[in-house]
Structure formats: structure tokens, C-alpha cells
């Protein structure tokens, strides 16, 4: 167990170091910071002095190490475009992205699981066929088009829901929340559907196929033979065993939701981290890009690590396989 954890942890650290190296080389090779600070017509003495002050005369690995040390404390310098610390910008934007991703995940699970169960239990009803056809479209449509179509229907034609921004927010210290005002909640509806639709269809299809598989197994037949009600068999026995892979996939998809938030935030002008990143890319704002790169990698590495460990804890077969392989 310990060896497994340590190996996964080491792999996570290597990934973070590689991402850090990419972020670092962005700083190092894009533009000359000395020219940036002093302007074109600085004296050579001034240049040498500033180069030494910034530590740019030191060997590559020393600079890289100090970059990693500062990045680990969340320090990425000033945004070139907004002249404010990158860490402040990110903490300002983080709540918006996390709230959106949370609602999208709840939507995906809350609708996806019931739909999956229904389409598995009533395989041949016409409603199941409709759900499956809709899910096929949901899988093949690009996220941004879904967002635009939703805006066209619900904001432009019907005028029911707002099409951009977060609405009114309430501040709790550094956390701003849109959960406590009507306009904030209304503003969440379209973006979270856009963001969660792909995951919803994924979960629906996964639950359906897993459930169909489980319903064929012997213990379900025995449960029926014991005279248990359909309800108990379906929800007590079948659904419970369906949920293990669903938990894994949902965990892994959490990272994908945060990443895909870039697209949804651009469509809905949602003031989150993704929009910040896209603007940084368009304006070549290197510190913001580097910080986002490291942060999103950290999210992914952590989520993958936790899911791996959970899987190991939940599924005893993995442990036995390893024990057998070790002997």
C-alpha cells in the first residue's frame, strides 16, 4: 500500500515539476525582463546591475529552483496587463469558477444518474430512445455551440434568463458568492447547463451500461428468486453496485469540468479563471498564464491522485492482484 502511494506521489511531483518547467521557460524565453524594466535605452552598467538583482546571471537550474520555491508559495509576480499581483487576480476569480463547476457537477449527477437508471430499466420505451438520441447529440455538439444556442433561445428569443456575467454577488471575506441572490442564481442556470451537459450525457450512458451489466448477473437473479420487490432489487442491489465506476469517472471528470469552464466562461463572459486565462493568452500576459498553468495542473494531479487512492481503497481486487504479483 505504502509503496503504491509513494509511487503515485512521486509521479505527481514529476508532473508538477515538468509543468513548472514549461511555465518557467515562458518567463525565461519570452521577452527580456531587463529591457522590460529599464526600457530600450538603459546604460550597460544599469543592465548588469538589474540582471544581477533579478538573479538572471545565475545558472539555469538555480533560477528554476527559485522559481519553483516561489511558485509553491503562490507567488507569480505582477500581471503585465493589469499591474496587480497574479495571486490576487486568481483568488478574486477562483470563487466564480468553483461555484460554476460545482453547480455543473451537481446538474450532471442529479440528472445523469436518474436518466441512466430509467433508460436501463425501461430499455425499450420510447422515452428511453429519446433520451439516448438526445445524449448522442449532447456528446457530439461542441460546448460553445450549446452555449450559443441556449443563449439564443432563453436569453434572446424568450428573454427569461441573463446571458452574461454572474448577476449580483454577496461577499464573504475574499469569497464572493452568487448563491444568495435571485439574479445570481438565475445567471448560474445557462452556464452550468452548458458546462454540465457533456458530463451529464457521459454519466447517463455509463450508468445505463453498468446497470444493464449488473442486472444480468447471478446475484440479481437470486435476489429476484428470493421474492424481493423490483424496487429493492433495482435500487438496493443493482444501483449500489453500479455506482463504484460512476464515482471514479465523476472524480476524473471534475478536473475536466474545471478545464472546460474556459469555454463556458468565454461564451457567457463569466468572470472566472478561465476567462482570465484566455484574456492572458490573447494579450501574452505571461505571469497569469504561468500561474493558471500551474494551478490547473495542481488540480488535475490532486484529483487523479485522490481518485487512484479511493479506487485502491474501494476495490479489494486491486490489492489482491498486487499482493499476488508481489509474491
Amino acid at each position: 500500500m505504502l509503496a503504491f502511494v509513494l509511487r503515485r506521489l512521486a509521479q505527481a511531483v514529476v508532473v508538477m515539476l515538468v509543468v513548472g518547467l514549461i511555465a518557467f521557460s515562458l518567463f525565461r524565453f519570452v521577452g527580456d525582463p531587463v529591457v522590460f524594466m529599464l526600457g530600450q535605452d538603459a546604460t550597460p552598467e544599469d543592465r548588469v546591475r538589474v540582471t544581477r538583482m533579478l538573479g538572471l546571471d545565475q545558472p539555469f537550474y538555480v533560477q528554476y529552483a527559485s522559481f519553483v520555491a516561489r511558485a509553491a508559495q503562490g507567488e507569480f509576480g505582477l500581471s503585465l496587463r493589469q499591474i496587480r499581483p497574479v495571486s490576487t487576480l486568481i483568488t478574486e476569480r477562483l470563487p466564480a469558477t468553483l461555484e460554476l463547476s460545482f453547480v455543473a457537477a451537481v446538474f450532471a449527477l442529479g440528472i445523469g444518474i436518474p436518466l441512466g437508471v430509467y433508460t436501463a430499466l425501461r430499455r425499450n420505451s420510447w422515452l428511453s430512445h429519446i433520451f439516448l438520441a438526445v445524449s448522442l447529440i449532447g456528446v457530439s455538439l461542441p460546448t460553445f455551440l450549446i452555449g450559443i444556442l441556449l443563449i439564443l433561445v432563453f436569453a434572446v428569443v424568450l428573454g427569461w434568463l441573463p446571458s452574461f456575467g454572474r448577476g449580483d454577488t454577496v461577499d464573504f471575506g475574499w469569497w464572493t458568492s452568487g448563491f444568495f441572490t435571485l439574479s445570481g442564481l438565475k445567471a448560474l442556470i445557462l452556464p452550468s447547463i452548458t458546462l454540465g451537459l457533456f458530463q451529464m450525457t457521459l454519466i447517463q450512458r455509463l450508468v445505463r451500461s453498468e446497470m444493464l451489466e449488473v442486472l444480468r448477473t447471478d446475484y440479481i437473479k437470486f435476489a429476484r428468486a428470493r421474492g424481493l420487490s423490483d424496487r429493492t432489487v433495482h435500487f438496493g442491489h443493482a444501483l449500489k453496485n453500479t455506482l463504484v465506476p460512476v464515482i471514479t469517472v465523476t472524480g476524473l471528470q471534475l478536473g475536466a469540468i474545471i478545464a472546460f469552464a474556459i469555454i463556458t466562461e468565454t461564451v457567457f463572459q463569466w468572470p472566472g479563471m478561465g476567462l482570465l486565462f484566455i484574456q492572458a493568452v490573447t494579450f501574452a500576459d505571461v505571469p497569469v498564464m504561468a500561474a493558471y498553468l500551474c494551478l490547473i495542473a495542481l488540480f488535475f494531479v490532486t484529483i487523479n491522485l485522490v481518485v487512484d487512492l479511493l479506487y485502491y481503497a474501494v476495490d479489494p481486487r486491486l490489492r489482491i492482484d498486487r499482493a499476488v504479483a508481489a509474491n
Binding site: F29, S140, I278
Partner: protein, 304 residues
């Protein structure tokens, strides 16, 4: 010629195609999309990039059938007076071109790495597969976005305009090689132990020659199926990146760029500027996807 056609008509694939009306429709739509895109310079009613022919007085003309539109512009015009139908045909050209080139790049990269990994084994194999594992834990679109974003920052402005399309192809290609590598590695491991490969080794052929001349032809089947489905994904990725404003430059608009441009006019009522490119993108992606699914099932011996 006639004999060849007859042979094709009796072939398994053609038979399974005849049996599936949905696939036939998808095939037809794909052919229409590809035809419209490839022959855009001859088929399109206007040349949207010929600045001399543009007239700002024609801007925001609605589709022809709405009454206030002009018959000259069947699907209306955009903010610069460009014919929407023509921009879609030229845009699909770029979307398809980038999509196919990116898939070709991913295929070559993935197949080479998969062959190396499977045939050489050992540390090379462990390293390539570990990189593949790690890359697979990030969504492809995020990787493409990062590569494209980094290139955008790293290249000087004037160069970036010319290199935007190759960089995009590279970014989407690199984000998609893992699937090919894994499949090819798996089949290479199986082929490697077969007698014909051992015979080639005994005869003294070099490892490279064995990989290319003997193993490669026997592992390409599944790769082509993955490639077909991947084209749809690559087109979506390209459209998304262009929509985000980090894809192709605005001087060469793809379908994604057109949707981005049209998106600004959604609220003032000019819906056709964004809806028609969107519909074209959906049609293209959906029909390529359906074709890929059909090809996968038709070539899968287990399902026959």
C-alpha cells in the same frame, strides 16, 4: 471500371452500407460538406476575401427567404457585407484542412511511438507509456489550448500570423497521439512474437525494416477507424480554439471563427451570421461521427 464497381457493390462494406439508411444519409452529407469545402473557389456564389467585391451597404442583409433579404445572398450577409454561404464554404475548407492535417500528424506520431514502444520494449516502452498515461489524464482540448497559447506567446507577432495554422495542427495533433500509440503498441506486441517476424529477424533484416515493412502493415486496421472518429474531434477542437480567439487568424476564418464573429451580433437580431456556420459545423461533425461509428462496427468481426 464496371467490374471494379460491381466488385465494390458486392463487398461486405458496401452491403452493410446499403443496409443502414442513417449511414447513407451521413455519407451523403459528408460528401456534400467535403465537396462544398474543396470546390469552394468554383462553387461559392461570391469570393468573401476579394475586398473589391465587398460592399458595406450590403452588410447585415438577412437570408433571402425572409422577405427583406436579397436573392444574391441566399443565407444573408455578415457585418462586412460578406455572403454567409460563401464564408461558410471557405470556412469549412479551413476547418476540414486543419482537422485532417492534425489527425494525419497525430496518426504518424502515435503510430511511430507505438511501434517503437511495442517492438523495442524495455525502458523506451515504459517511458513512452508513462508519458501517454500522464497526457491521458488531461483533456485533449486543454493540451491543445496550452500548446497553442504557449506558441502564441513564444513566437514574435509578425511570425505568428503566418505560423498560426501549422501551430494549430501541431497542437491538436500532439493532443491526440496517445490513442494511436496505445492501439499500435498492443497489436505490435502480438505481431512481434509471430513466426514471420522471427523469420525476418533470422534472415537479418534491420529492426527498422521489420517494423516498417512487416509489422506496420499488420497493425494499421484499427488505426484507420480511430482516425475517422478522430477527424470529428479534431474539427471540434479547432472550432473551439478558433471560437476562443486562439485558433486560426481572422484573415482566414474557419467555421469556429465565423461563429465567434456572429456571436457578437446575436443580441441585435442578426442570428443568421452565427446560426448557419453553427449548423454547418454540427452537420459536418455529426455525419463524420456517424460514419466513423458505422466503420468501426462494420469492420469489427465480433459484430458480424
Amino acid at each position: 471500371m464496371k467490374a471494379a464497381l460491381e466488385r465494390f457493390w458486392d463487398h461486405d462494406l458496401a452491403y452493410s452500407l446499403r443496409r443502414s439508411p442513417v449511414t447513407l444519409v451521413a455519407l451523403l452529407l459528408t460528401l456534400v460538406c467535403i465537396g462544398g469545402a474543396v470546390f469552394a473557389p468554383w462553387l461559392a456564389p461570391h469570393d468573401p476575401f476579394d475586398l473589391a467585391s465587398l460592399d458595406l451597404n450590403d452588410a447585415f442583409s438577412p437570408p433571402a427567404w425572409t422577405g427583406s433579404g436579397a436573392a444574391k445572398y441566399p443565407l444573408g450577409t455578415d457585418d462586412q457585407g460578406r455572403d454567409v454561404l460563401s464564408t461558410i464554404m471557405y470556412g469549412a475548407r479551413i476547418s476540414l484542412g486543419v482537422g485532417v492535417a492534425a489527425v494525419a500528424f497525430a496518426l504518424v506520431l502515435g503510430v511511430s511511438l507505438g511501434l517503437l514502444s511495442g517492438y523495442i520494449g524495455g525502458r523506451v516502452d515504459a517511458f513512452i507509456m508513462r508519458v501517454a498515461d500522464i497526457q491521458l489524464s488531461f483533456p485533449a482540448i486543454l493540451i491543445a489550448l496550452l500548446i497553442d497559447g504557449v506558441a502564441r506567446v513564444a513566437l514574435p507577432n509578425e511570425q505568428h500570423g503566418n505560423l498560426a495554422v501549422p501551430v494549430l495542427v501541431l497542437a491538436i495533433g500532439v493532443s491526440g497521439w496517445v490513442q494511436y500509440a496505445r492501439t499500435v503498441r498492443g497489436s505490435t506486441l502480438v505481431e512481434k512474437s509471430k513466426e514471420y517476424v522471427q523469420a525476418a529477424r533470422v534472415v537479418g533484416r534491420s529492426p527498422l525494416a521489420i517494423m516498417l515493412a512487416h509489422v506496420l502493415p499488420n497493425v494499421t486496421g484499427p488505426v484507420l477507424v480511430i482516425g475517422t472518429i478522430h477527424i470529428a474531434t479534431a474539427i471540434i477542437t479547432e472550432a473551439t480554439l478558433s471560437f476562443l480567439g486562439v485558433g486560426v487568424p481572422p484573415t482566414q476564418p474557419s467555421l469556429g471563427t465565423l461563429i465567434r464573429i456572429g456571436n457578437d451580433f446575436l443580441f441585435s437580431g442578426e442570428w443568421w451570421i452565427t446560426v448557419f456556420p453553427g449548423a454547418a459545423l454540427i452537420t459536418l461533425v455529426l455525419s463524420v461521427n456517424l460514419l466513423g461509428d458505422w466503420l468501426r462496427d462494420a469492420l469489427n468481426p465480433k459484430l458480424r
